[in-house]
Symmetry: C2
């Protein structure tokens, strides 16, 4: 397997690309690669290139860029809004969201959010590693956390929100039909125009959303409240399940 690295620099055929000290260390001491060995490089804007390691030093390295292997392509316009949960679960959510093709990730501080300390730098590093591993051409930004109340400020026109109410709240765990009830996620997603360009998914904290938050969500016409089955899902499971269903029903898991 050719190592695949995200580079924070322009990429073009025949140019030299800088490798960070961490990347040089990783190539040399973990993967046992050396000068002359092949790598794949991407930077989120110029596509993916084959390259050859030209130098691996303690302070960093250099690669000589060869031919472009894939042109740049964007992920579907899907943002994950997620209430921070305990560190391990939040890190799982970030890693899996990248693998599942979320374009961006934004922490939301809700009323019942307990874990409000977010190490954005570490989460961003997890996102980079996941992007390198899964073959993506871009790394989603981990946005600065927003308060729930501010979530809809500057909400892009036309963007829909899949609201996953996984708190075990009776009203939404029960199957849909009545006023204010949520419907099965897949059924709901499939009822929307496949050409709706922009979507977001909202995953709450372990304690769920407060009644005021749920009312605020349901008051918006672009919010689609959904259920994810009859069992109580942890926040990380719910996030992965919601991203999966969206990609399969409306995203790039469909036949082109």
């Amino acid at each position: 397997m050719t190592p695949r690295l995200f580079i924070n620099a322009p990429l073009a055929e025949s140019a030299a690309a800088p490798l960070s000290a961490e990347q040089a260390h990783y190539l040399k001491n973990v993967l046992r690669r050396d000068e002359g060995d092949a790598v794949l490089l991407f930077n989120g804007s110029d596509g993916e290139f084959s390259a050859v390691i030209a130098e691996l030093k303690k302070k960093g390295g250099l690669a000589t860029v060869g031919a472009q292997t894939r042109p740049q392509a964007a992920e579907p316009d899907l943002t994950l809004f997620v209430a921070p949960v305990k560190r391990a679960a939040l890190e799982t959510i970030i890693q899996k969201s990248v693998e599942l093709g979320a374009r961006s990730i934004c922490p939301v501080i809700t009323e019942r959010t307990v874990a409000t300390r977010i190490n954005r730098e570490r989460l961003q590093a997890i996102a980079v590693e996941a992007a390198e591993q899964c073959g993506r051409l871009s790394v989603p930004a981990i946005d600065e956390a927003v308060k729930f109340e501010a979530m809809f400020d500057d909400w892009p026109s036309g963007r829909r929100l899949m609201f996953c109410d996984e708190a075990g709240d009776d009203e939404t765990k029960a199957w849909g039909g009545g006023e204010g009830r949520a419907a099965p996620a897949l059924e709901t997603l499939k009822s929307f125009d496949k050409k709706t360009e922009s979507w977001a998914i909202l995953i709450g904290p372990e304690g769920g959303f407060s009644p005021a938050e749920r009312a605020a969500l349901r008051a918006r016409a672009f919010v689609a409240p959904v259920t994810l089955g009859p069992r109580i899902l942890r926040a990380d499971t719910a996030a992965i399940a919601a991203l999966t269903l969206w990609q399969a029903a409306l995203g790039d898991w469909r036949r082109p």
Copy 2:
């Protein structure tokens, strides 16, 4: 939140139910519960009962069983066959499979399986905890590992297999259509009779399936090869995604 515990004993109204030393310790020292406090009990066969803690000692405890809160109900007939992966990822797969309603879980040793040491006792404990937490009425058994070659011995008649080929093999990462190509998972699942009673899902090791294994799988009429989108998924992500799509398309995430 009332603590919910899996009990390895019969449950009936007005009977006494034994609590293990671990459960007594957990109730007393972690959840700070005491005699007289309420718990919910289930055992995988008699349904769920409300109960009251009658005794909490170091060696174990007792609960007095009250009214049945839910009658016993089976999970959908869905088995996860999964090649063991590294410990953390395998434990994630077990926990999430329980939350996502797999009825049973069977490790499969394939040609490229690296992690062949399985601590079934620990995995079973993870399954119990996940069942307690997600509200299930049963705990899936973690079966003894089978070799890939023996997987189809005693295969129940009528059981279909969703074969997720996530190894990054070009033939299956490309979109379906040609001979031997896999099709998008959701499209494939939706093409089957909603009344097919029995299904299994197969998730391979990080290195994917060998050509011989893939040929053996594709030779079976009941095997449905599927893709899970254009990105390379880790084994745990693939397992969660596959279980999610099955439940949404054919399982109990649908409107009853």
